[in-house]
C-alpha cells in the first residue's frame, strides 16, 4: 500500500520502504518502556512518516523532473545509509514489542489463529477502507487521483503537486511502520536488524493487483497469501517445493504480467504495440 501511494502520486519507486519499516519498529521498541504500547505506536508512526517526508523533501523533491530510474536510485542510496544505521543500532538483537494481545490465539472454525494476525487483518481492512473512502469522497482524495491520472493537467487545474507528493510520502512512511509492527508481532519472534529486505515481499502483491489500483493491491495481497500458504502446506507431500515459498509469489506475478502487462486492475496504456 505504501508503495502504491507513493508511486501513484510521485512516480517514484521507493526502495527505502524496507529500512523505513525497520526504523518504525526500532523507534517503537525504544520508547515503549516510557510511553506504553499505544504511545509507542503513535510515536513510531509519526517518526517514520517524518523520515519519509524528509527523504522526499531533501532528496527527491529537487529531482522531481528526473527520470524514474534516477529517483529509484536515490531511494536505493537512502536505503543503504539508513539500513546501515539500523544494523549498527540494532546489531545482533531481535526487536520485539510487548503488544497487548501477546501470544494469544483464538480458535475459529477449527483453525487456531493468532490474535495479532486478526488485528493485522482488521487494521489493514480499516486502512484500505479509509484510503478508498478518502479517495472517493474528499477533496484531497480527488486531487490525488487527478495527479495520479495526469500531473500536468492536474497542476493546470490548480492541484498543488508538492503538497500531494508530501502527503503521499508521509502516509507511505507511516504504513511502512505499521507493516513493521505486524511483522514483529507474534507468531514471529521479532524483527532482526537485517530484515529490511522483507518489504520487498510486498511487490508481487502490489504488481499483481496493478500499481495504480489500491483495491487491486488488496486482491493481489490475498492472491499472494493464498498461493504462499498452499505451497507451504503442500511441501509435506511434494518435497521438491521445499524452500521455494519465497519465490512462488514472484512466479505468480510473472504469470499475471505475461497475460495482463499492467496487472489485474492496472490502468491500460493508450495504445499497444
Amino acid at each position: 500500500m505504501g508503495f502504491v501511494l507513493i508511486y501513484r502520486s510521485t512516480n517514484v519507486i521507493s526502495f527505502a520502504q524496507g529500512s523505513m519499516l525497520v526504523l518504525g519498529v526500532y523507534v517503537m521498541t525504544q520508547v515503549q518502556a516510557a510511553v506504553g504500547f499505544t504511545g509507542a505506536v503513535v510515536i513510531g508512526l509519526a517518526c517514520t512518516a517524518a523520515a519519509a517526508g524528509l527523504l522526499h523533501l531533501l532528496f527527491l523533491y529537487p529531482v522531481r523532473f528526473a527520470a524514474p530510474d534516477v529517483t529509484a536510485t536515490i531511494t536505493i542510496g537512502a536505503n543503504v545509509a539508513l539500513a546501515a544505521a539500523m544494523t549498527q543500532k540494532i546489531g545482533a538483537n531481535v526487536l520485539s514489542l510487548n503488544a497487548p494481545w501477546g501470544s494469544d490465539t483464538v480458535t475459529l472454525g477449527g483453525a487456531r489463529i493468532a490474535v495479532s494476525r486478526l488485528c493485522a487483518l482488521g487494521v489493514a481492512a480499516v486502512i484500505i477502507l479509509a484510503v478508498a473512502a478518502a479517495n472517493r469522497y474528499t477533496m484531497a482524495g480527488l486531487v490525488s487521483r487527478a495527479v495520479a491520472e495526469d500531473q500536468e493537467t492536474a497542476s493546470l487545474m490548480g492541484a498543488r503537486i508538492p503538497r500531494v507528493a508530501l502527503t503521499a510520502w508521509l502516509l507511505g512512511g507511516a504504513m511502512a511502520a505499521l507493516a513493521g509492527l505486524f511483522i514483529t508481532a507474534y507468531p514471529n519472534v521479532g524483527l532482526a536488524g537485517n530484515t529490511s529486505d522483507i518489504a520487498l515481499l510486498a511487490f508481487p502483491a502490489v504488481v499483481i493487483g496493478g500499481l495504480d489500483s489500491i483495491g487491486g493491491a488488496v486482491i493481489g495481497g490475498l492472491v499472494v497469501g493464498m498461493v504462499q500458504t498452499l505451497v507451504v502446506d503442500y511441501q509435506q507431500q511434494a518435497h521438491f517445493l521445499a524452500g521455494y515459498d519465497t519465490a512462488v509469489p514472484w512466479l505468480a506475478m510473472l504469470v499475471v504480467l505475461l497475460i495482463k502487462p499492467t496487472g489485474l486492475f492496472g490502468k491500460k496504456p493508450l495504445y499497444r504495440i
Partner: protein, 381 residues
C-alpha cells in the same frame, strides 16, 4: 511537470556535431585520440606490476562489474528498458562456467568436465539463452512493470541456487581455472617475474579482464551506432513512431535483452574467475540494485559513464572499508562503541550516491551532464 522546455534547448551541445570540422580540428582530435590510446596501453601493460594487491583486486572486481554494467547500460540507455534481473544473468554465467568446466578437486558437486575455454563460451551462451527465455516478458512490459518482473528472476534464481543441491546450496561451488593449452590464468608459482613482481594469478587475470572489458566496450559501441542501435533508440524514444516506420518493436526489445544478458554472462565468467568460489548471495537482489546504481550514476546515455559508475560503486565501499580506520570518529578494530568501518563506508556510499544524483539532476549547479534528455511529455499512456 512544469518547465517542460528548459532542458530541451540545451540538448545539442555535443562539440563533435556542431557543424563541419575544419582540417586542423580533425587532426587535433586524432592526435588526442592516439595519445589517449597510448596512455591506456601503457597503463594496461604496467599497472599489474606497479599496483598493490588491494588495488589490483579492486580493479579486477570493478572491471568485471564494468562488463556487466555495459550490458545493463545498453538495455537501459539504448533501448530504454529497466531491468533489475542483471545479477541473475551474471549468476547464470558464473554458475554455468563452474558447472560446465573441468571438475575441481574438493569442489564436491561434480561438473560436466568440458575444457575451461569451451565452458566459458558455453556459460556466455547459457546466459544469453536465459535472456532469450525471459525476453517475451521483456518485450511485453514497460518501464516499472518490467523492472519489477525482472526482480522476480533474481528472487527465483536465489531460491534455486540455495535449494538445488547440485549447485552447492548456500556454500556455493568452486570454479575451475581458465586454461589455454598449458597456460593457466590461476597460477602463482612460475619463475616468470616482470620488474621484480611475480606474474601471478592477479596479474594474469588483469590482462584477461581488461582485454575482455575493452572488447565488450567496442562491440557495444559498434552495435549502438549501427542500424540496430538506431532502431533500438527509436523504440526507446517513440515506440509508436518506430512501429509505424517498420521497426518490429517487440523483437528489438527482445534483442536488446539478449545482448545485455550475454554481457552479463561474460561478467559472470570473469567474476567466477576472480572470486574462485561463488555463493548464491553474490548474485542476489543487492547486486542487481548496485548494477542499476552504477548505470544511473554514470548516466544512462554514456557507456564510459557506466564503466566509471562500475568503478565507483564497486571500488568505493572497498576503499572506504580499507581506509575508514584513518577517519576520525571511527572505532578501531576491537574497540567497543563508536562506528565500525563497514557502517561508515555504507553511510558515505549511500549519501554520495544521493549527492551525485542530486547534483546532476536536481536544481543545483550542473556538474557533469552536458546533454540532458528532453522531457518526455506526451508519450505516457
Amino acid at each position: 511537470m512544469i518547465n517542460i522546455n528548459t532542458q530541451a534547448s540545451a540538448g545539442t551541445a555535443d562539440p563533435a556535431s556542431a557543424g563541419p570540422e575544419t582540417e586542423p580540428q580533425a587532426s587535433r582530435r586524432l592526435a588526442w585520440r592516439v595519445i589517449l590510446w597510448v596512455v591506456l596501453a601503457v597503463v594496461y601493460l604496467l599497472a599489474p606490476f606497479v599496483l598493490s594487491a588491494f588495488w589490483l583486486q579492486l580493479l579486477l572486481l570493478s572491471g568485471a562489474s564494468a562488463v556487466a554494467a555495459l550490458g545493463l547500460r545498453f538495455l537501459i540507455g539504448v533501448s530504454g528498458q529497466l531491468s533489475l534481473a542483471h545479477a541473475f544473468f551474471v549468476g547464470v554465467g558464473a554458475y554455468a562456467y563452474a558447472k560446465l568446466g573441468p571438475s575441481v578437486p574438493g569442489g564436491g558437486t561434480g561438473s560436466v568436465g568440458l575444457p575451461s575455454a569451451v565452458a566459458a563460451l558455453g556459460a556466455i551462451v547459457f546466459a544469453g539463452l536465459a535472456g532469450l527465455i525471459f525476453s517475451p516478458v521483456a518485450a511485453r512490459l514497460r518501464g516499472i512493470y518490467l523492472g519489477l518482473a525482472s526482480l522476480s528472476l533474481v528472487v527465483i534464481g536465489t531460491a534455486l541456487l540455495t535449494n538445488v543441491s547440485s549447485l552447492g546450496g548456500v556454500y556455493g561451488i568452486r570454479a575451475s581455472a581458465l586454461t589455454f593449452g598449458s597456460f593457466s590464468f590461476w597460477d602463482d608459482d612460475p619463475a616468470t617475474a616482470v620488474l621484480g613482481t611475480p606474474f601471478g594469478t592477479m596479474q594474469r587475470l588483469w590482462f584477461l579482464v581488461m582485454l575482455v572489458l575493452l572488447g565488450v566496450f567496442v562491440v557495444m559501441r559498434r552495435l549502438e551506432r549501427s542500424r540496430t542501435g538506431r532502431a533500438l533508440k527509436s523504440v526507446r524514444d517513440a515506440p509508436a513512431l518506430a512501429a509505424s516506420v517498420g521497426v518490429h518493436v517487440q523483437s528489438y526489445r527482445s534483442l536488446a535483452f539478449v545482448v545485455s544478458s550475454l554481457a552479463a554472462g561474460i561478467a559472470g565468467v570473469l567474476l567466477a574467475l576472480v572470486y574462485q568460489n561463488i555463493v548464491p548471495d553474490d548474485f542476489g537482489l543487492e547486486l542487481s540494485v548496485l548494477y542499476l546504481a552504477m548505470v544511473v550514476l554514470g548516466g544512462t546515455r554514456s557507456a564510459v559513464g557506466a564503466m566509471l559508475g562500475a568503478l565507483a560503486v564497486t571500488g568505493l565501499p572497498l576503499v572506504l572499508t580499507q581506509y575508514a580506520s584513518d577517519l576520525p570518529f571511527v572505532a578501531q578494530p576491537g574497540q567497543v562503541g563508536g562506528l565500525d568501518p563497514g557502517t561508515v563506508s555504507q553511510y558515505v556510499f549511500g549519501l554520495l550516491l544521493i549527492a551525485v544524483l542530486l547534483a546532476r539532476f536536481g536544481r543545483l549547479p550542473v556538474l557533469l551532464s552536458r546533454v540532458r534528455p528532453a522531457r518526455r511529455v506526451a508519450a505516457r499512456g
